[in-house]
């Protein structure tokens, strides 16, 4: 865009409209979700559930399980650090209402899952993962659908709906199969839409 000197320059209605259009396009492009956090958390959780499923289904030594467990913990920790860094970096440049809303939703979700876990434990006095998994998946599905609505992106909304259906379906299965279904849910609701978002933003 041409620079505007302190003294006003001739500027007609068409140019006004053009400036407004250009800036709206800039905002739409720059502030569009790049899908990085979707991809990151999609793969982290996918790895976590797939590796848990494989260990439950196959016979491996305790040492191997321990090593993969450590790798999972390190990946999870790195993902948390990267997420905090990414949010702070984005927030520094520009703060959007969409970004603020998404932060509230996902932070509330983490709190909600933690408290629900405690409620289940308090009521049935035992850590019942078979019950906990579908319920947690349902909460996550809710957050994914709302996120898709906020960023107005249908693949994420459909991913959230698929997540909810898989949550319901998983209530019919044992824990091992639940892990596999949850891995599939993360693939459908996070990894696929995340990669599409990333590709679209950078193309």
């Amino acid at each position: 865009m041409e620079t505007n000197q302190p003294n006003s320059d001739p500027f007609d209605e068409r140019q006004s409209l053009q400036v407004i259009r250009e800036m709206i396009q800039v905002s739409q492009k720059k502030l569009k979700n790049d899908g990085i956090l979707f991809i990151l958390w999609g793969w982290v959780m996918f790895y976590s559930y797939i590796s848990s499923y494989v260990f439950k289904k196959t016979v491996t030594t305790f040492q191997v399980q321990k090593i993969f467990g450590y790798i999972g913990n390190v990946i999870g920790l790195l993902a948390i650090v990267f997420t905090i860094y990414y949010i702070l970096k984005e927030r520094r440049k520009v703060q959007t209402y969409i970004g603020i809303s998404l932060r509230y939703i996902w932070f509330s979700l983490i709190c909600c899952l933690s408290i629900t876990s405690m409620i289940i434990h308090n009521v049935i006095h035992v850590a019942n993962l078979e019950l906990q998994h579908p319920i947690f998946m349902m909460f996550i599905a809710f957050a994914v659908v709302v996120t898709g609505g906020i960023i107005r992106y249908k693949p994420v909304i459909f991913g959230g709906i698929a997540f909810a259906l898989l949550a319901f379906a998983s209530s019919w299965f044992k824990l091992e199969e639940q892990l596999l279904l949850e891995a599939a849910a993360w693939l459908i609701a996070f990894i696929v839409p995340g990669h599409i978002l990333f590709y679209k933003r950078n193309s």
């Binding site: 865009m1 041409e2 620079t3 505007n4 000197q5 302190p6 006003s8 320059d9 500027f11 209605e13 140019q15 006004s16 409209l17 400036v19 407004i20 250009e22 800036m23 709206i24 800039v26 905002s27 720059k30 502030l31 520094r92 440049k93 520009v94 703060q95 959007t96 209402y97 603020i100």
Partner: protein, 103 residues
């Protein structure tokens, strides 16, 4: 010609700044500089004009050892921007009507 066009907003860079700020909660000086494509000096000048008109709030702080300027649109700024966009819309409606009448 358009009637009641706000002279504060009827400037290329100031309109660009307001068009960017209208869609966000707040933006850094660097973000505005990058997207309006103007010079640092000119951007500072135009931001001051908008602040004087109370269309934006400017907060100055520090990021490490460097000064950080953050801008946020005010309610008065939102009203002014909406009114400006409405005037532009009216102009184009009139323009279209006149064109149709001539045809």
């Amino acid at each position: 010609m358009l009637k009641d066009l706000d002279p504060i907003l009827h400037s290329q860079v100031r309109l660009a700044i307001m068009s960017l700020l209208i869609s966000v909660k707040s933006a850094e000086f660097g973000f505005l500089l990058e997207n309006t494509g103007t010079t640092k000096g000119n951007l500072s000048f135009q931001l001051t004009k908008l602040k004087e008109a109370e269309y934006i709030d400017i907060q100055k702080s520090f990021k490490g050892n460097y000064p950080l300027t953050t801008c946020e649109i005010t309610e008065k700024g939102i009203d002014a921007y909406e009114s400006y966009v409405n005037s532009i819309e009216e102009y184009f409606k009139e323009f279209k009507n006149n064109k149709n009448q001539k045809l």
